[in-house]
């Protein structure tokens, strides 16, 4: 049987047959050592090792018998927001790492950590070396409120606070003053709930997670009693999801403060809502009007609280002698008949929320990491059609950088698989070169010449082992090394 890439792709329509062949071939059919200069295999480069990068790689490796994938990552360590975004008290979400590890262990896949694309090697260079380049570098910035006082100390992007408690090297030195009773979080998304939960969870619970040691120490000394979550629209437009809400409602030693006027009469429209929105709204309504006896008992004993506030748009950060004192918000009304698309329109009224700490949690934003990448600065995404980057043949994008910074790992996974399928199709139809690209060897040559200290997947395994060992001492699943130099040092010691 002729196992040309084209035939291979056609066989995809017959999954049983395909699996049989796959099993015969096994994953070890081709090894890196046989990858001589300009062999006959497609070489694909993926920029970014988060879920988008790994799921795209998985689809590509599965769908082609000899294709090779190299995953470039800015940090020495893989997994993107699964390591540096997902909250430390949600370890079960991080199980996806096991699948990513299997992908990385495939002989046809290489991880090249500590390589910043756009700086250490350019996208133009990569496009010459590889058959195709997939940009899956996520969203490394965030949206601004654009209000006076936003640059004062102790008004922080939720993104950097998340990076701080998760041991992200660039955020480890964040200055956060928790010596205040009230914090305000702007935004009603899941990141806002993550931040609120980390601020309010009893520290002894957090101490058993992989939260960074310095964050744990700071939280131990925190004086916070109240976290206020401010949304610009109403209860029917919250962006957080029900699992995360339920967790907040059941948070030990903490009580939710919901205002009856926000939820009254909502029950009348329950039957018209789609199931997820209905269940979410019902849970908020029940928390407000019909909590269980157990809930009430828990809340009466609570020492801390979190509050949901609606229809408020931040206008100005209030301060006195350079110290943050509060947030002034315009009171909004909602316009539009369809509840999903209702718009917040500010009235002349405003209110002041006293607080000593503000987080802006209104969404992430992607960056243009290389001038060769077409970029929609307004939307903060790479313009693309089903993952094919507009105007640049051979260039693709996957995950948050192409779809915008929304969606759980499931949606990023679906996108990664889709983009993988699109590339396989383009390969099969000869829209991108299958042959004659040096791939890995070509990239190594450039990076070595430039003195870039690359970190391989087996290097990561050493870092991983070290972190796990350090964690064991403190009864934590791991203690993350939050300093790139220290990560590299471990590797040089090992050698």
């Amino acid at each position: 049987m002729n196992l040309s890439p084209q035939n291979w792709l056609r066989m995809q329509h017959y999954p049983h047959f395909l699996r049989k062949v796959l099993r015969q071939l096994g994953n070890k059919s081709q090894s890196r050592s046989s990858s001589t200069h300009k062999d006959g295999n497609p070489h694909i480069c993926i920029v970014g090792s988060g879920p988008a990068g790994f799921y795209t790689a998985q689809q590509l490796l599965k769908g082609h018998p000899s294709l090779r994938v190299d995953i470039f990552e800015r940090l020495p360590v893989p997994f993107g927001l699964v390591r540096y975004g997902v909250a430390p008290d949600h370890p079960e979400v991080k199980n996806v790492i096991n699948t990513f590890t299997q992908t990385a262990n495939n002989d046809r896949c290489s991880f090249l950590g500590n390589v910043q694309v756009g700086k250490d090697i350019t996208v133009t260079e990569l496009l010459k070396i590889y058959s195709a380049v997939v940009l899956a570098y996520g969203a490394a910035a965030d949206k601004l409120l654009g209000i006076p006082g936003e640059n004062l100390p102790n008004i922080l992007p939720a993104r950097t606070f998340v990076g701080w408690y998760n041991g992200l090297p660039e955020d480890k030195d964040l200055k956060v003053n928790l010596d205040t009773e009230t914090a305000v979080i702007v935004g009603h998304g899941n990141v806002a709930l993550d931040v609120a939960r980390i601020l309010l969870t009893p520290v002894d619970i957090l101490a058993k997670t992989d939260i960074s040691d310095y964050a744990l120490e700071a939280l131990r000394k925190s004086s916070l009693k109240r976290v206020v979550l401010v949304g610009r629209r109403g209860p029917l437009q919250v962006a957080f999801t029900i699992k995360e809400l339920r967790e907040m409602i059941k948070l030990p030693e903490c009580r939710p403060v919901f205002h009856k006027e926000d939820f009254k009469d909502l029950e009348k429209i329950f039957p018209d809502l789609p199931r997820p929105r209905k269940r979410l709204t019902e849970l908020m309504h029940k928390t407000c009007f019909g909590p269980t006896a157990d809930d009430v008992k828990l809340w009466n004993e609570a020492k801390k609280e979190w509050e949901l506030k609606f229809r408020l748009t931040p206008m100005e950060v209030l301060s006195s002698a350079g110290q943050l004192t509060g947030l002034r918000c315009a009171v909004n009304k909602l316009e539009g008949s369809n509840f999903e698309n209702q718009k917040a329109v500010s009235t002349d009224e405003h209110i002041d929320l006293p607080c000593g700490l503000i987080f802006r949690s209104i969404g992430y934003r992607s960056l243009q990491i290389d001038p060769a990448i077409p970029f929609d600065k307004k939307q903060g995404v790479i313009p693309n059609e089903k993952g094919r980057v507009t105007g640049v043949p051979g260039l693709y994008c996957s995950g948050w950088v192409g779809r915008g910074p929304v969606g759980v790992i499931l949606s990023t996974m679906t996108d990664g698989f889709d983009v993988g399928k699109v590339i396989l199709k383009d390969l099969a139809e000869d829209h991108i070169p299958n042959l004659g690209r040096p791939g890995f060897q070509g990239a190594m040559k450039i990076l070595e010449e430039r003195g870039v200290k690359m970190v391989s997947f087996s290097d990561w395994k050493k870092i991983d082992e070290h972190e796990v060992q350090m964690g064991e001492k403190f009864g934590k699943p791991r203690e993350k090394i939050a300093d790139v130099q220290n990560m590299i040092k471990i590797l040089t010691h090992e050698k």
Partner: protein
């Protein structure tokens, strides 16, 4: 109570060939990774009891039917993994009720017969699933029983899977 804690008791029998990573992640589930089953190894030391099996069918949105031998007492996630049923991304969180990638759709008559109703936690996760139906369940929460012989469940076409790339 969610099924997760039950699983902890039910399935300690499987160990992983990449056990070193376990400390990164939650450990109490079947820990069998779906996507690359070829070189999966079990290193169980406890004697394997011979379990009763039934036949279960997984049907995708194009009507392709895959047949699986399902051990009574296993979850449908276990069944998918053990039988190497080809479903992209299935069981990403490994049965810890944190992903909804194990979404399956039952026929009404089978759905009604399932011995355990979904918990709030399962429904919460299902709310994020693509192509949610009244008779949707999460495969990792469904335990195979003797009377499931011949059961046919539908693998939902993800939003994306439903269309071919063009």
């Amino acid at each position: 109570m969610s099924r997760v804690s039950t699983l902890r008791v039910l399935i300690p029998k499987f160990a992983l060939n990449f056990a070193r990573y376990e400390s990164t992640t939650v450990q109490f589930t079947s820990k069998k990774v779906v996507t690359c089953c070829v070189n999966r190894k079990f290193s169980s030391t406890s004697p394997k009891l011979k379990k009763e099996t039934v036949t279960v069918y997984f049907v995708d949105f194009q009507g392709n039917k895959q047949t699986a031998k399902a051990k009574v007492g296993d979850s449908l996630l276990d069944v998918v993994v053990e039988n190497e049923i080809d479903i992209d991304g299935f069981g990403a969180c490994e049965g810890t009720l944190a992903c909804s990638t194990c979404h399956l759709i039952f026929k009404k008559k089978d759905f009604d017969k399932l011995p355990e109703k979904p918990t709030d936690e399962e429904l919460d996760m299902l709310d994020l699933a693509y192509g949610l139906k009244e008779t949707s369940r999460l495969g990792c929460q469904i335990i195979v029983t003797k009377d499931m012989d011949g059961l046919e469940v539908e693998i939902p076409g993800g939003v994306a899977d439903a269309r071919e790339p063009s």
